[in-house]
Amino acid sequence: MSTDVRTGLVVRNLVVDVATRHGWSEVLHGVSFEIAPGETLGLVGESGCGKSITAMSILRLLPRRSARIRSGEIVLDGIDLTGLTERELRRVRGDQVSMIFQEPMTSLDPAFTVGDQIAEMVRRHRGVSRAEARRRAVELIDRVGIPEPERRATHYPYQFSGGMRQRVMIAMAISCQPTLLIADEPTTALDVTVQAQILGLLRQLGQEHAMSILLVSHDLGVIAGNASRMAVMYAGEIVEGGSRRDILGAPQHPYTDALLRSLPSRSEGGRLASIPGVVPPLGDLPAGCLFGPRCGHFDEALCGRQRPGLRDHTDGRGVRCARLGDLTLTGGVP
């Protein structure tokens, strides 16, 4: 299963359907991105844009009855994960790829001490002795900055605060030194001062272990401070991808532009820019550009007939806008 070739993660043309009352309905319309070894990619978008479905698809964690990967490739270090059996995939989960979620309490078993839970993970994937697994668990608890690791290893999840619980989850996630860590809104339930600590820890671990991180968040600030490259999602598509500096400094897609302009931190008194309308409902997508009905730059002839492809802009930048090049967008931040 494991290879020595580390090429990172490549997701190509991922199409995912979810079950609705009227049958299967497409929610991801061909999502593509890459994460190099040791790199952090930020996936940002508003609720319902498909960012969590994308994250869950990588480890095939979506419930089989309500979601399916229709087509596309998910290649990690040269191996296509979509082609693996459930049994093979179980070995990848937690070993090469780990995932942390928004609410650590639901991911931890309340009936076992955190030390036992981390040790179990190590034993399952590394086949070491009980004593050795135990020793590594304490080491990991120390590694993620939890004070008094020996004593804390004997505590149950309810004895930890939200931030400390997320540290436990991170300890478990890095226990087998994965090459890819998927962090889905890892700090959304936490206070801002605790968020700063957790994000700091992730940055530090990412660098030390040369771990690739897929950081999923609705918060542009979280992405800005932690990802060198980013992708903006809207209605199941990546509408703009590239380096953080390019995208935040000079957005080329009207959605990214509008998102940046609606931030309260941009206000100097006065009114905020908002985006009119709502995300198109599943199964009732517009014929042309998915953002078209809410876009201030919509042009029926250019945007209303067919869905724009992801057009290459400059170095690694992709923008899904038919009017790319003839718009002047001013929403960039310094």
Partner: protein, 333 residues
Amino acid sequence: MTTAEPDSVLSVTGLSKTFRTGRGRRRHEVRAVVEAACRIGRGETFGLVGESGSGKSTLARLVSRLIEPDSGTIMLGGTEFSALAGSELRAARRHVQMVFQDPYSSLDPSWTVGDIVAEPIRVHERVGTAERGERVVELLRSVELDGDVAGRYPHEFSGGQRQRIALARALALSPQLIICDEAVSALDVSTQAAVLNLLSDLQRERGLAYLFISHDLAVVRHIADRVAVMYRGSIVEVGQARTVSDHPLHPYSQLLRDSVPVIAADPPVPPLVAPARRTGAAEAGCPFVDRCPAALDVCSHVMPPLAETSRGHWVACHAVELQVRTPLEESRA
């Protein structure tokens, strides 16, 4: 800042609340709000920021008398709201309304939007069905919804629209004060912006005052005129929203400001913040002492009072007081 000025909508002094749970050895006390004081003027937005457990929602519940304080006074205009009981209390409640965080649980799913918005009118006023219906339509229009949504149910609406419905209900009795408890926190930024704009418009049109509670410093900085920062039950800093957000003086407010992720193309490297050493609720002394980089000996014994460091800017910190006082006294000498 503790005297009730004639034009104030709300004036709170010495408000405290301790929650007690368990018995005997399992007895546990949480000092949720400690000696809180604030004043909100007519047409003013007063922001309240703090982390979870800081007591900001408890303060909101005390102010609206959803829960009873252990001590303290709450003045609504010229009326001592905290002294009212029975029918007088019920009548006075119309002046303070609330909008909560979760637009999915604060609206009864089995009621139509029209019934939800009409309920306060039905409870507090004797008006005919026809007039009530007209007022509901008017209220819905004032929050930029079509009057004909009255017959529909909450599940048919998005989060932002539901928050507009909750706002229409809060406006039904023309209150002087609306308490927004994390009212925009669950919304996406683009929707949040529209609701924040609506709140500003309604304030201008109706002279409303808001007590705006949020964990989000950027949102409070945008909407509030003045802001108070709460930490473990105590208000540690009060002042103009811009001043407190951009140039906070209290070490906790500074930590809060530094923790907010900066949205920039080239963001500064965020500071590495040490986790809190949990010591439980401090009985005496400053609640922030165990995390404070500027702590003095006195801080663990004596709770610093709110002191005015410049006009309208109040800080509860021994270290800040020392800094502010010293040059003053030197210049006098």
